[in-house]
């Protein structure tokens, strides 16, 4: 088994764990963590392809995409965290009350 294949398979596992977490976790913070785990899986997939396609250096395009993606994901997560904290301040709720 090649290195990239190990991480590629891992990426699918992390992605599915993330999806499961977004739906099943109740606490806001855990839901946000779950989205980051999902993202981690997706990014791992990109970077493992970059390693597979290496010539004198690894494919730089997926690396750049992942750096962009990480920053975008963190901006979204910070916003979600702000919303979660504000909701807790106003209501004391830490999860969606009518769980979907």
């Amino acid at each position: 088994m090649e290195t990239y294949q190990i991480y590629n398979l891992t990426s699918a596992v992390l992605f599915v764990i993330g999806i499961g977490g977004v739906f099943a976790a109740r606490h806001f913070i855990r839901k946000i963590i779950a989205t980051i785990i999902m993202g981690g899986g997706v990014f791992l997939s990109f970077v493992s392809f970059a390693e597979r396609d290496a010539l004198t250096f690894a494919d730089p395009v997926p690396h750049a995409l992942v750096i962009t993606g990480i920053v975008v994901a963190v901006a979204s997560a910070a916003f979600a965290l702000a919303l979660a904290r504000r909701i807790y301040q106003l209501t004391g709720e830490e999860s969606f009350t009518n769980d979907k």
């Binding site: 992605f15 977004v22 989205t35 395009v61 979204s76």
Partner: protein
């Protein structure tokens, strides 16, 4: 693709709103609003010029950084993109005018929500960027620009219900984006390109492509609130400020639909089966019935309008089964393709006008009454004739009565359905229209009913009512240039084409 004429317009369509949004940050509350409104008008007018340029020169491109795909990113403004950008411009201009007056009227109590302006301009840049994008990863970035600015606008009121609905909207949006991006990763891994044009040529069917299609479709369905992922939309859209609700319903959800349409038609043709079309059509059909029924059952105006969005978006999904041809049918012999495309485009535009108008009217009523419970709409005609008229006109378009844009959409959809022989979709279209008629006439009956007791209608600026009315009328006026519009769209590459399904699966879903 790269031999098409280039134009600077695509660059300005994204850059200008971002420039203006950023500049508005230097001003305080009132200044932000002035820069914001001027910026909206400027962006809108430029978008209309760009639309004009495409009608004159045909599809134009802009090769960013001078690097051609697959290494670089290309912006492409073809007739379909131009029509979506033009629609965003017209609806956006009137919502901006409304927002200016609406926030001014409440400045004393609320502070006038100055952040609306930079966020709306960022949203507009994201929408234009999405319509122009020809790159799978860039589409992800524009989806995120739209997602963050849309949720930020939705929670602007700071109220508890809006915050909770906003957090759910945001989590759903992130999940949808990540699902989409996983598909993009697999596509990049299997082809080494992100450019839609190149992908259409090199993508080969296989397990990976099918899985990528699945996660991309699921991700976009989540974002456009397609059944069964519609749960986040009604609370988020109904709890936002009126101009924001209008933006979210009229424009934002259309972004994900646009990508879905583009990708299915231009990229994933090789992996699509007749059954896949039937399945997504079924999701649309359930949304039409469920959303209309839920709208019928609501007792507050904004919730009625929000649930109605779920149903109206369902109609959009119902064009997919018509665009995927059963095995053995060729695009030349399929005379229902043009009606199906026309139905899709008219449904998008008519819904954008009618729904924006509806939400703006709801905002006027909340301003006059302090709430939007529908029993208080009694004698609306006596107090606010223009708003009542706007609701009636927009409602007629939503139902799909002639001669509205909504009628054009539903008529063409039925025409496509019968020409293609997929008659089982017809009862859904008719039931949806009947249920819509149910809640629209319920509203109108109340509006004409004599007041039981004196409801205190506070005076509302006349210009707000005019904005709502103009948008409502717009949902009728769009029928006038129908022939020209369809001809224009057909000059593009995608419009009027279908997907010739190469796999077995024609037997599925027929009964």
């Amino acid at each position: 693709m790269t031999d098409l004429p280039t134009s600077p317009f695509p660059a300005f369509l994204v850059g200008l709103p971002v420039l203006l949004a950023t500049l508005s940050l230097f001003f305080r509350a009132r200044g932000k609003a002035v820069v914001g409104l001027a910026g909206s008008l400027l962006t809108g007018v430029m978008a209309l010029f760009a639309l004009f340029e495409v009608t004159r020169r045909g599809t134009v491109i802009h090769i960013l950084g001078g690097w051609e795909p697959p290494l670089g990113i290309l912006l492409r403004m073809d007739p379909l993109a131009a029509v979506f950008i033009g629609m965003t411009a017209v609806v956006g201009i009137f919502i901006s005018l409304y927002a200016w007056r609406y926030f001014r009227a409440q400045e004393a109590t609320t502070g006038g929500f100055p952040l609306f302006w930079p966020l709306w301009l960022f949203l507009w840049a994201g929408l234009n960027g999405l319509f122009l994008s020809n790159d799978l990863f860039n589409l992800f970035v524009t989806l995120e620009v739209i997602g963050i600015s849309a949720v930020a606008l939705a929670v602007l009121s700071g109220k508890k219900t809006a915050l909770v609905a906003g957090l759910r909207y945001l989590l759903v949006a992130i999940t949808g984006s990540m699902a989409y991006l996983f598909g993009v990763a697999l596509i990049y891994g299997s082809t080494g390109t992100l450019d839609l044009g190149l992908l259409g040529q090199v993508l080969e069917p296989g397990t990976t492509t099918t899985f990528a299609l699945l996660v991309i479709t699921l991700g976009l369905m989540i974002k456009m609130a397609g059944f069964p992922f519609h749960f986040w939309l009604p609370p988020a859209h109904s709890s936002a400020l009126a101009p924001v609700s209008a933006l979210l319903s009229a424009l934002v959800v259309k972004g994900a639909f646009y990508i879905l349409l583009r990708l299915w038609m231009e990229v994933f043709g090789v992996s699509l089966t007749y059954a896949a079309g039937q399945l997504i059509g079924l999701a649309g059909a359930i949304a039409v019935i469920w959303g209309s029924w839920q709208a019928f059952m609501q007792t507050s105006l904004k919730l009625i309008v929000a649930h109605s969005s779920v149903a109206q978006l369902g109609y959009l999904l119902m064009i997919f089964p018509l665009l995927i041809l059963a095995p053995g049918v060729t695009a030349d012999s399929a005379d229902w393709l043009s009606p199906a495309w026309t139905a899709g485009v008219y449904q998008v535009i008519a819904h954008a006008f009618a729904k924006a108008s509806f939400f703006l009217s709801a905002g006027i009523i909340i301003m006059a009454l302090g709430h939007d419970r529908i029993e208080s709409l009694r004698d609306l005609v006596g107090h606010m004739r223009i708003t009542a008229l706007a609701i009636a006109i927009a409602g007629v378009s939503l139902i799909g009565l002639p001669p509205s844009g909504g009628f054009m959409a539903k008529w063409m959809l039925l025409k496509g359905i019968f020409l293609s022989g997929q008659w089982w979709w017809a009862p859904v279209v008719l039931t949806g229209s009947l249920l819509t008629a149910g809640y629209v006439f319920m509203l109108l009956r109340l509006a004409f009913a004599p007041a039981r007791e004196k409801e205190a209608f506070r005076p509302v600026p006349r210009s707000l009512e005019v904005c709502a009315l103009v948008l409502a009328l717009g949902s009728f006026l769009i029928v006038l240039p129908a022939d020209n519009l369809i001809q224009f769209l057909q000059s593009g590459e995608v419009f009027g084409t279908g997907i010739e399904s190469i796999m077995e699966g024609g037997a599925h879903g027929n009964d």
